[in-house]
Amino acid sequence: MIKIKNFTYTYPERSTPTIKNLDMEIARGEFVLLTGRTGCGKSTLLKGINGLIPHLVGGRMEGKIEIDGLDTRKADISTLSRKVGLIFQNPDDQIFSTVVQDEVAFGPENLALPRKTIRQAMDEALKLVGLDKFQHRGTHMLSGGEKQRLAIAAVLSMSPEVLILDEPLAQLDPQGATEVLKTIKRLNSNGMTVILVEHRVHEVAHLVDRIMIMERGRIVLDNEPRAAFERIDVFRKLGLRVPESSELSCAMGFKEVAMDLDEIKKGMNNGIKFPAGPSKGPASLELPGEKDSGTVALEMEGVCFRYDRRTDFILKDLSLRIKKGEVVSIMGNNGSGKSTLLLHFAALLKPSRGHVTILGRDSRKLEARRLAGTVGVVFQDPALMLFNETVEQEVAFGLRMLHLGEARLDQQVTEAMNAMDIAGLKDKNPLSLSGGQRLRVALASIFSMQPRVILLDEPTSGQDKSNSDSMLRYLYALSKNGMTILFTTHDIEAAIRYSDRLLIMNSGRIIADGLPRKIAGDTETLKRANLRPPVSFEIGRVFGIEAFCIEDLVRMATCSG
């Protein structure tokens, strides 16, 4: 279906190619996972397959890409759009219609199809993604997962034979990601060729026929999943997360990599076992334990919040006390009220009812600006936090606003940059950096002010594992010096590893509040919030042990042979 021969591509005004001499063949109906570090050339390759390179992006292209015998260099974009559909990371950036049916009809309208044909194509596409009842709904009323499915329907209406998706799960909550993956798998089962670019290898590996890893413009691994995970070192080196069952089987020395729980069970029968009976299990790497601090840093009492009287409450009667030095993670699907809660603790939102106290002061009497240097907020999109010309200026900005002396300013800036490993980038423009680097700059710009409270809105979203781990590890270390930290996340393992306390939110209420391990094992509560326990927990439960991350499983496993 797709033949790529000696493909080399250099972007305009760049001297080195992003992709070098790439050869690849993908058969009709194959489901390929393309992964690798940020900037390795994955998205560029997709643009090549889609024909955006060289038709629209320009630059220098060598070699040949053929889609079903059609040379992408010779065919025009309109013809190619009927062969290949491209989905981007953020559905909000690609959906421009205000009503679902307009978005889906856009492609067939551009092809000047008759009205009856457009309607048929639209109905079929919406049905395929399970949005057939949403035809007249406003696009702004859809959830993240629904929006991404709409984006898929919008290309399906042009009847492409290949679907390529560029990190379609990055902006989605667990429920949305599940919906989208199910849709993609269903399309593939119907015979569609799928190329999926994704960092979250562990979540999609079980669906795909083949895994390709790119590094510096080349394919460094190309194999079916089981064979690919035999080279687990390649995944680890690139900070890619592999499925727990595969990781466990490799760590325990199985002869063959396990792809699911059944295969783990089978492997266990061959002489490897967990301690018998239910066990509390040992602590994982960063099991924090409750910190013994009496001082309350943040408090909410009977808080209700809504934007205006005509709308429903977003926060409903919340009462909460967070102690100094505590690290609190907040989980819940989009719209559950997590971010709204965070913004209350920065005095950016004031409660409609009830009281919020920030470090002993009533938030109603506080102006957000007066909290500078005391409360730091890292927003979900770090790019919106960067406006200075260099990284160094960015990190120093807050301190300058606080009129800190030059010597102390230099010291704090250097400390923050070193901590976030961005000292080498100090003269670069923050907006020219990669997503992970931008987040580190945004974090450093907050850390440099040494606030007493840090609030982070989904800091793990769109980040690879190594980035998330190093950031959260550093945050946890800061809490030991008395810094209070609240972060929202969709990653339950991150919440278990790096927080003292986990809050689960659903429809504006806190439905669980306690030790992360305890809550992560409470499947009923998690289910109420449309969340799932970590896969390690599910594996452990089968063997009667309590494990919450892969390290737990590996540590508890004993080899009796």
């Binding site: 909000d92 950036d93 421009f96 219609s97 919008a154 999109d381 406006f387």
Partner: protein, 295 residues
Amino acid sequence: MFRIRPLTVAEKKDSLVYHLDPRTKLLLLSSIGIIAVSLDEPRHLLFLSIFLIPAYLLARFELSKYKLIMLVILVGLWGMVLSQAMFYRQWPRTVILTIIPQDLPLLGRLTGGLYLYKEGLLYGLTQGLRFSVMIASGLLVAWTTEPRDLLLGLIRLRVPYGLAFMFITSVRFLPGLVSELFTVIAVQRLRGADPVKLGRHTLRSAMNILTPVLARSVKRAATLGASCESRAFNPNLPRTYLRELHYNRVDIMLSGAAVMVATALVMAKMIFWLYCKDILYFPGLRWLYAMAREL
């Protein structure tokens, strides 16, 4: 904090102003704009403004929208009337209030005196009312017409598809853009800055706000462009449309009347101008000259 969506999106209710064809609304909007520019007398402009009130009442908007339009109109009127009344430089001009007398020590010398002029006040009132009428009618159309209908309306009025698409797409992304603007301001406040404060750092602050918002917009535009192109978008090629608009009798009557009034007014003004410039004079049109002088 960032909830500005209700102010930027159209509502959908069961009322005449919502049911009108977008082409009718666009024609009414253009006609009102032409009439507002053609009229010179504040009392006529005031009458034109009052004409919009029933339409606003029929629209039954959320309260926030009424508050916004009132705010925009009052601030616009106040600013224009006051600035023109104070800084009117044409002759003749009649002082109606002395703010700083010319003979006041220091300030009087420095400023040369500061006065409110009657002619400036009337000129400011005319400009302010023109501005109010245009803003009010523009927002009325925007708040009662879904962007998809507006797009179809523009296309059916023979506006090039690429241009209409660009306009409507920018409207679609406006709420997100404003929300990002508020986020950036909040971010900077939490780092000790006061980016909306006027002063010697205003320009720098504006740049600090605009840089991340523009960078994000450019990135979004690139994604959107790629998404459109990969769905065979080409503004220069013929395309078909799933939906169709329906122009009914009320639409024909309203748009016809609006276009006729605007055309008649422009014609009357032109004929009067030709007479004033001694280019063309018809004794039989003296009644028209007299009327046009008053408008």
